[in-house]
């Protein structure tokens, strides 16, 4: 949920209209997960498949060339773990 919208009713925008385009970026979808992805860097071949399949677009390459998930957005759906050709990702309790 956008932190901006968590406010007293008096402060809510007229008609609950969103006046800041793109404020969905503030939506902490990471709140929803019970499992989070963890990458075994020994197994990972840095192919980037997981980032392509992630429906949240929350996996991106880091300086070392690995693909960690941004847990602010990761919903814990497990698609990355399922698609990884090397079974390098395991879903662990968050």
């Amino acid at each position: 949920m956008s932190e901006l919208a968590i406010c007293a009713w008096q402060k809510l925008e007229l008609g609950t209209v969103i006046t800041q385009p793109g404020n969905a970026a503030q939506l902490r979808t990471g709140d929803w997960k019970t499992l989070r992805p963890e990458t075994d860097t020994e197994k990972c071949i840095k192919c980037g498949m997981c980032s392509i399949y992630c429906p949240e677009f929350c996996i991106s390459e880091n300086e070392e060339g690995y693909y960690p998930a941004d847990l602010f957005y990761c919903k814990g759906c497990g698609i990355c773990a399922n698609e990884c050709p090397k079974q390098a990702i395991s879903m662990v309790m968050d």
Binding site: M1, A5, W9, L14, T16, I18, T19
Partner: protein, 390 residues
């Protein structure tokens, strides 16, 4: 003010919409509202009214188009009745939820089945909780004047809510009544152009109608509810200003007859005129009868109503709709709930009258009065005039 002319009330309402200088009319014709929107289409076609006329394929689309145009900052009008209002149902909530000041005439008509094109309040009573301001006109002049005032009420920055002006189908819409039109200049001074607080604007993008997750929904509803509650003061102020600068004097709740009358009729809409005659005759024959007319139905004017009935011992609440399975008709339910916490509570009788266009005459009111006095109206409600074998 000019001289009164004889005119069908629907055409007077169309004139009011024209004089309010609307930008968009989106409507689908349905009896008994048709003449209003037909006349408006003529005004637009012949250039008398510089507006977009959107001839939609249904009432659902009519109100949807109205929502869009109002969100784009246009002064917007629509009208409907009965099944048409029901077909708008989901959009009715969206209009108020998005705080869009659409003005709508509801030519009140009975709900099917069986099909009835005639008047009662079954249509609007099924839409009590849509979050719109709801007012009732009693005659043609009122229908004309309240339609203009409605725009000023709805567009007030403290309100920004849709409003429906209820006009009894046929009994008012198709009646030829003397109507006094108000000078355009006066109306222009009274009603400045609509200046929206938020609009759909590509240069300043906004999302109207996003998802309201559980963390937000309650606050969102509270915002709309409070706006509706606050609108009472604005309705009152606008009607006062209207009385001073343009037309007649209107109150949220109006009283007629002996101020200290012991038995009061409570009515909404055109039946008030018939009641007025009945009350006058009852008074002349020495009875303690009076009348209270509720003009503003939503938000319900509690304080004004309680003040109006303060001296009464008994109320005969006339409902023009059934609330099947409930203790009373909608208006009587409202009043009983309001009275429950009061220390002095008059006795409340409830008569459901005039369903599906059945005539309710002066004699009927006199009979109701006599039955109330003799305590023959029963504890809950009585459906007036229903033929029965028993």
């Amino acid at each position: 003010m000019t001289k009164a002319i004889g005119l069908e009330v629907s055409l007077a309402i169309a004139e009011a919409v024209k004089q309010a200088n609307v930008d968009v009319v989106a409507a689908y014709p349905i009896t008994p509202q048709t003449h209003i929107v037909e006349e408006l289409s003529v005004y637009v076609a012949n250039g008398e009214l510089d507006a977009e006329y959107i001839p939609v394929e249904s009432e659902h689309s009519a109100l949807s188009a109205a929502v869009g145009s109002s969100a784009a900052g246009a002064r917007t009008y629509t009208a409907t009745a009965a099944q048409g209002l029901a077909f708008m149902h989901e959009i009715l909530f969206i209009t108020s939820g998005l705080r869009l000041p659409v003005v709508m005439t509801v030519a009140n008509r009975a709900m099917s089945a069986p099909i009835s094109i005639w008047n009662d309040h079954g249509d609007i009573m099924a839409e009590r909780d849509i979050g719109w301001i709801q007012i009732f006109a009693e005659n043609g002049q009122e229908a004309y004047e309240l339609t203009i005032a409605a725009f000023k009420i709805a567009e007030d920055r403290k309100v920004l809510l849709p409003i429906c002006v209820n006009v009894d189908g046929f009994i008012l819409t198709h009646m030829i009544e003397p109507v006094t039109f108000i000078d355009q200049k006066k109306i222009d001074d009274f009603l400045p152009p609509y200046s929206p607080a938020l609009t759909l604007d590509p240069d300043k993008p906004a999302t109207f109608g996003p998802v309201g997750v559980p963390e937000v929904y309650i606050e969102s509803r509270k915002q709309c509810e409070q706006a509706l509650l606050n609108s009472k003061a604005v309705v009152q102020q606008v009607l006062e200003d209207w009385g001073k600068s343009c037309g007649g004097k209107y109150k949220l709740v109006e009283k007629n007859g002996n101020d200290k009358a012991k038995i009061l009729f409570i009515t909404m809409g055109s039946l008030g005129e018939t009641t007025m005659t009945a009350v006058k005759e009852l008074e002349e024959s020495g009875e303690s009868a009076g009348q209270v007319r509720i003009r503003l139905w939503r938000p319900f004017p509690r304080e004004e109503f309680l003040e109006a009935i303060a001296d009464a011992d008994e109320l005969i609440v006339i409902d023009r709709a059934l609330s099947p399975g409930a203790h009373n008709g909608p208006v009587a339910q409202e009043i009983k709930a309001l009275l429950f916490n009061e220390s002095k509570r008059p006795k409340v009788h409830n008569v459901i009258a005039g369903l599906g266009g059945r005539d309710v005459t002066v004699k009927d009111f006199q009979k109701m009065y006599a039955m109330a006095k003799a305590d023959e109206l029963g504890p809950n409600y009585l459906i007036w005039g229903v033929r029965s074998d028993a």
